[in-house]
Symmetry: C2
Subunit: 353 residues, 2 copies
């Protein structure tokens, strides 16, 4: 007997992207930043480390909230910090969605949303993106037991965005909070933080894993109106962010110059990847994230993924029902992308894919 709740017993569990801990891979499968974080991060962490770790950290990560508030143009009590934005998504799901209630999410998208609903014993309602990755109107439809909607923007795997005006309208129409998961937004042209001020149903989550190059540190946050933050606070673990991550994250968000430089590099490489893949014959939607999504009807992309892996290049192969299978390639360093694109051309030339 396992004693667990039947919902948990029935779950397969979320499987994160491969994280090989040994061996040398060009890792383009989990949308990490290829460049090291701002040097200010390491300095801040070392300084904090030298102050000792024997005391509990600040439960509210006040230093980060104060600096982030300035950057975002809100007050600190509009921000709640989490152990990565997965922690934020977990907190929001637990706060808003009870058993047998509904959580809405678009698909194809981040698979974790559904897992979070399963853990709660809640039901998830998947709304399929249109073929051009636009969001159908039905995403905004009301329903009695609907308690939360997740909208990743930019979306993964497509890298596409839903226009801000449509998000504002969706939030107005929805009977429940709308959490806009902006994990990739620093690579996009617009974001929804100012919508939070207009509508207390909008929450915006962010992570430092992608655009700040800090996936290893685990730090994310959510922006919402203070009365919403106060409720989410009850659900989070007291000391959910450790002392070193608070110090590192504060230094990271303080270095907006680093962010802009990094962003420009990623966007430049993204354009090169997109152009080249289209030239090879892939269909690639315009990406506003740090990855590109390529489909190629008639080609065997699973075999392509496996060929790349054999050659020590990890990308993500995804095949969602009713959608063309595709490969999602994170924007890596210039040399990494050269190697990846060359292998793809080889595979296609040799009929491997």
């Amino acid at each position: 007997m396992s004693f667990v709740r039947p919902e948990i017993d029935a779950m397969a569990g979320y499987v994160p992207g491969e994280q090989p801990q040994a061996g040398k891979f060009i890792k383009l499968n989990t949308n990490e930043n290829p460049y090291p974080p701002s040097p200010a991060v390491n300095r801040a962490i070392k300084e904090r480390l030298d102050q000792g770790l024997e005391r509990y950290p600040d439960p509210l990560a006040t230093s980060f909230r104060m600096r982030a508030a300035e950057v975002l143009g809100v007050e600190p009590d509009w921000i709640l910090c989490g152990n990565g934005s997965d922690d934020i998504l977990t907190i929001a799901t637990r706060a808003f969605v009870g058993p047998d209630q509904w959580l809405r999410l678009p698909t194809p998208s981040y698979v974790l949303y559904k897992t979070l609903a399963e853990i709660q014993g809640a039901d998830s309602e998947e709304v399929a993106f249109n073929a051009d990755w636009s969001l159908p109107e039905e995403f905004s439809a009301g329903s009695n037991q609907l308690r939360l909607a997740f909208l990743p923007n930019p979306n993964s795997p497509s890298g596409t965005i839903v226009p801000k005006a449509q998000i504002a309208a969706a939030a107005d129409a929805l009977p429940c909070p709308l959490l806009v998961d902006e994990a990739y937004v620093d690579f996009a042209e617009e974001n929804c933080v100012d919508l939070v001020k207009q509508n207390d149903k909008i929450l915006v989550s962010r992570t430092l894993s992608k655009s700040y190059g800090l996936a290893g540190l685990r730090f994310g946050y959510v922006v919402a109106q203070p009365h919403i933050i106060a409720q989410l606070m009850k659900v989070k673990d007291s000391y959910n962010c450790d002392a070193l991550s608070i110090a590192g994250a504060t230094a990271a968000i303080d270095d907006q110059q680093w962010l802009q430089t990094n962003r420009a590099k990623i966007i430049k490489t993204r354009k090169r990847m997109t152009d080249k893949m289209r030239e090879i014959g892939f269909t690639v939607p315009d990406s506003q994230a740090n990855f590109v999504w390529g489909t190629y009807p008639g080609k065997n992309l699973k075999a392509l993924y496996e060929f790349l892996k054999q050659n020590r290049v990890l990308v993500r192969y995804m095949h969602y029902p009713n959608y063309e299978p595709g490969i999602r390639i994170s924007v890596g360093g210039e040399d990494q992308i050269d190697a990846c694109l060359m292998l793809i051309e080889t595979a296609l030339a040799q009929g491997i894919a």
Copy 2:
């Protein structure tokens, strides 16, 4: 409108012990270790930091599990790591206890257990410790909707333990898992890890916050049979432990010599505190933890707490219904304890308490 589940809306939320982020306090209120962690921890963290933080951490904290398995005499798949042991307690509650089901806990004890039940929409059943801090038989009684029992051992605020044989018998009798919260066990004379091998209903949780001096790092773990670990794995966030904490925790548990030396210092100071407080007139149960619990019928211990705080010494004042109010004093450094005891004597001599 807050949109949150009614259970969350009704909650007051758990309030952790005061963590002043500014000002100089002798901090004896949250059972932190007064001594810095093993120097190996800082070295390991700096080394890991220099390898870069842009990649996701190992979702399973394999390096820690392998080293901890050797120390504990189990296999690595008997261990699940968490972002502090609060994360472990959260994961266990979510895995085992659904809405309107019951979670059993002794009282007076760690207040968080009840909060975790509240967040799940579950009911908590409090079983009062006897006046001598022994655990009544009714803690083991069966009931249909009982899904999990927490037993902190040593307990807080008392510092007392429930004998291992009684825990083994309780687990046999209970219809549900029994999680023995061994946050303070490194300061005690026995622990329950070997019981896990005998009974898959027993889970043992640990933290590195207390005995390893790493409250700021957030690292804990649970020991349970592999089929239980596999279920808990589904509930945890994918990357719940960051790269630096995994490195630091692995170095910490590797340095068992440091642990033994630190433990001996704490136990020596604990004895001095206990003897002195009894001499002053307090009733102090024998503590097997890194704090002592003192009651003093007829004295105003709330006033004593406030006097200490005015004099920059933080302790914990606790008044549980049907129990004598008391103060819980963490075992600090020798000088810190000298200062605290002197202030207590002053307060009593001057009739402040």
